[in-house]
Amino acid sequence: MSDVQKKTFVVTRFDPDRDQVPKTQSYEVPVEPDWKVLDALNFIKDHIDPTLSHRWSCRMAVCGSCGMLVNGEPKLTCKVALSSYGDTVEVAPLPNFPVIRDLVVELDGFMEKFEHVKPWIIRAKERAVEDGPMRQSPEELEEFKHFSMCINCMLCYAACPVVANEPEFLGPAAIALGHRYSLDSRDEGAGERNRIFRGEGTVFACSYANECSEVCPKNVDPAAAVNQAKLKAVIDWAAGLVLPRRAEE
């Protein structure tokens, strides 16, 4: 431990009770070779400045709590190694979200978008318990499995230029989640979701910048989900013109 490397962390600070605008504060941190960015933030909190606020939980890229902007890119701070950065590391809250304090952002609007896409299995008629479980083949599972790996870390919302400019836009993670259920062989709610996808917050607002898939730490590929959802919404719309009853369902 004699040759401890030090890095400077330039962290965005914001106290809603005192600050009009966010400011930055620098910290010198002795870092271990195997540390992630989150380890350094926890060191600052525990040993240098206990007033620093940041959100984290599992430390294993599963809970999706510790998403932040690291050197200008949305990252899961528990997943990115400090060794991949230089002597100065800038950490800021995720853009496109209201900041509550320091590095902690408001989740409410994000969670509401998830509710909009009805992320649950919709059945025209509820299946009776005595009918047993709904079986699904490995091929049917494969259809949507990768879209269900989202951990709601919000990095895709921070990276998306459409989310930045159109607050109504449902956004990558919510559309990917809705699309995941529409692809599920047990689900019968694709028509409802297609109408939601075509309505306010429309999937067509996506300009396919592909940034969401670039930053996704779980390789969900939300850009693919959004574009598949567009095609399904268009086919459903066209089918509604030919078969008017279908649109009324």
Partner: protein
């Protein structure tokens, strides 16, 4: 206007999608072969009479129409989204109809042109 745009969005997106396909794959090859390779003598130039016969057939007219009109819709849709992505979302209700009207006017001219071939 915002509601109308929302309602016709599936059509606009479909034209945009086909415009990307035609514009990036076919139109690029078309320009490369007929606009560059043939005049430079890299490939044998096609005679006017032969080109006219090909273009004036039913399939030829449809291909020409798709080659001219669909990239116009793709361009209009792309320009609209570039405008929105660069902070012009507030004026989308004015800019989007203008761009789509331009694409529609170009498509109309293309239809007249292929009909009169």
């Amino acid at each position: 206007m915002k509601r109308l745009l929302l309602k016709v969005e599936p059509i606009l997106w479909l034209l945009f999608g086909q415009g990307i396909l035609i514009g990036t794959l076919l139109l690029t090859g078309w320009v490369l072969v007929l606009g560059i390779a043939a005049p430079l003598g890299v490939v044998d130039p096609i005679s006017y009479a032969r080109a006219h016969d090909l273009g004036a057939s039913l399939i030829g007219r449809l291909v020409l129409l798709a080659l001219i009109a669909l990239p116009l819709w793709k361009g209009a849709h792309h320009m609209r989204h570039v405008f929105i992505d660069t902070g012009g979302g507030d004026r989308d209700a004015t800019v989007a109809p203008l761009l789509y009207l331009l694409a529609a006017a170009g498509s109309l001219v293309a239809i007249l042109a292929v009909v009169r071939l």
